[in-house]
């Protein structure tokens, strides 16, 4: 899939589809911009007028609560108008194709689509077919990418752990089905972490996973040894066809993040999870609700990160929709 499509002729971000191929400078610019939006979320009036008059469409072909809500809040805090279209209310059930749906929404003079779809590449497909003044943010496509989740994860790490060069990071769980893992891996490698490990049973590791620039571990205690950041992934029961894990009890016993296993990591290691959590499957409640968990701050930061991406994509356009002749 092309990464060139994400930038316009002047090198400005025009779609965000994947973190693969984004430079360190581009990532840092997004993170710095997100940092400046944190303060807006802490005010009494949590709204700035940057995207007044712009229309953002949340186009969700796959269910989501957290991602859709945080995109909606982010757009509203930037004063954009937001329309939410869920799969159950969409005309795709009446046989309309994905591109027909998008073309109709374009005809309503919308500016930005936030797209989630069960098929890998759906957001790319749309981005290839929209006119120049319409922008796409991928909010998760199949197993491929979830770039804003990757960004909010690295934002969380930077805020709580500082420079990436010193950090050992472990991703644990369903690497095989996880678009979050792929986005995290691209971002963390570009930002130059000292060491990036993935920990999972062989059945949940993609073949030749080393090629992504990670060190695989099947033993969680060895994999967690001396790490600064523990990134949990959700076991995606809905994407599992066949026997990837023996049983939930057995998986939790071997790979569930419990206080005992977390003790292998550095004493000040932080714990992340993209949600929604399967308590008692990939993570123990004591850890999820414990002092090292940043799972709820991640949600808060996700709003600032999504505000940053939308502001960077829609700002600085010579001919915004509202002012075009």
């Amino acid at each position: 899939m092309t990464k060139g499509i994400q930038f316009d002729a002047s090198g400005k971000l025009t779609h965000l589809l994947t973190l693969e191929g984004l430079s360190r400078q581009a990532l840092v610019e997004i993170l710095d911009t997100a940092e400046s939006f944190i303060a807006v979320g802490e005010r009494e009036i949590k709204k700035v007028p940057l995207l007044r008059g712009h229309t953002v469409v949340n186009l969700f072909f796959e269910p989501s609560t957290r991602t859709r809500t945080t995109f909606e809040i982010a757009a509203k805090r930037l004063s954009a108008d937001v329309i939410n279209l869920g799969v159950s209310t969409s005309s795709t059930t009446k046989g309309e194709t994905l591109l027909d749906t998008v073309r109709n929404l374009e005809a309503m003079r919308t500016d930005l689509f936030v797209v989630r779809h069960a098929e890998s590449g759906a957001a790319h497909l749309i981005a290839q077919h929209v006119p120049k003044h319409v922008h796409i943010i991928n909010a998760g496509d199949g197993r491929h990418a979830h770039p804003t989740q990757g960004l909010l994860d690295v934002f969380t790490i930077r805020r709580h752990k500082g420079a990436f060069e010193k950090l050992k990071v472990a991703l644990i769980g369903d690497i095989l089905h996880s678009r979050v893992a792929r986005s995290d891996i691209h971002a963390l490698n570009t930002l130059g972490v000292k060491e990036l490990r993935v920990i999972a049973p062989k059945t949940l590791l993609p073949t030749a996973v080393e090629k992504l620039g990670v060190v695989p571990y099947t033993d969680i205690e060895a994999g967690l040894d001396d790490v600064d950041v523990v990134m949990m992934l959700r076991i995606q029961r809905e994407r599992m066809q066949g026997a990837h894990i023996p049983s939930e009890q057995e998986y939790f016993r071997v790979y569930g993040l419990t206080p005992d296993k977390l003790a292998c990591a550095k004493p000040d290691a932080i714990v992340l999870h993209p949600g929604p959590m399967n308590r008692g499957l990939e993570i123990d409640s004591t850890v999820a609700d414990g002092p090292r968990s940043l799972i709820l701050p991640q949600v808060t930061y996700g709003i600032a990160v999504r505000m940053a991406v939308m502001a960077l994509i829609l700002g600085g356009r010579e001919e915004p929709l509202g002012r075009r002749a």
Partner: protein, 169 residues
């Protein structure tokens, strides 16, 4: 090029002019970046006890859709609260008035001040909005393609730059 303006004497003059506002127990708010440098000096000279506030108007600019995000947005800090307070808004250069328009909009997202006055180190020609400063350090008349910039934060100095090509607001 440096204009013939003694900044210390100008600040002293502004301080005297602002003294008449002291009975209102004003709060002072500087606009990033140069306005904060000026405000820090006035705040100290006037002996104001409430902490100095700071505004970054990047999210309120009227040219965002044209020029995009400012890469160096500083956090606004108005933790002191401005509800029902008399606010002295401080900037380094009053030019088109657009920065002040944006600052007023942002200010009102933090609360409802009892009153706002504007103090500017330099007032130059080229106003595009009906905005005036109540306290002015010095007046400058410049050509349209000339810009005056405050250099800081330690030793404040003024620079006049000629801009070739398109002049931005």
């Amino acid at each position: 090029m440096r204009p013939e303006i003694d900044i210390d004497a100008t600040l002293a003059g502004m301080t005297e002019a602002l003294r008449t506002y002291l009975p209102r127990h004003p709060v002072m708010v500087g606009i990033h970046t140069g306005g904060v440098w000026v405000a820090e000096r006035l705040h100290k000279a006037l002996g104001l006890t409430d902490p100095l506030g700071a505004l970054d108007i990047s999210f309120y600019r009227d040219d965002f859709t044209r020029i995009g995000m400012n890469p160096e947005v500083k956090a606004s800090n108005l933790s002191l609260g401005i509800d029902s307070r008399h606010v002295i808004l401080v900037d380094d250069v009053l030019h088109t008035g657009r920065t002040i328009r944006a600052a007023l909009n942002e200010l009102f997202d933090y609360g409802r001040p009892a009153s706002v006055i504007l103090a500017a180190l330099i007032e130059r020609d080229g106003r595009e909005l009906p905005i005036e400063a109540q306290v002015v350090g010095a007046h400058l008349k410049l050509a349209k393609n000339q810009h005056v910039k405050l250099i800081g934060p330690d030793n404040l100095a003024l620079r006049i730059q000629s801009i070739t090509g398109e002049v931005s607001a």
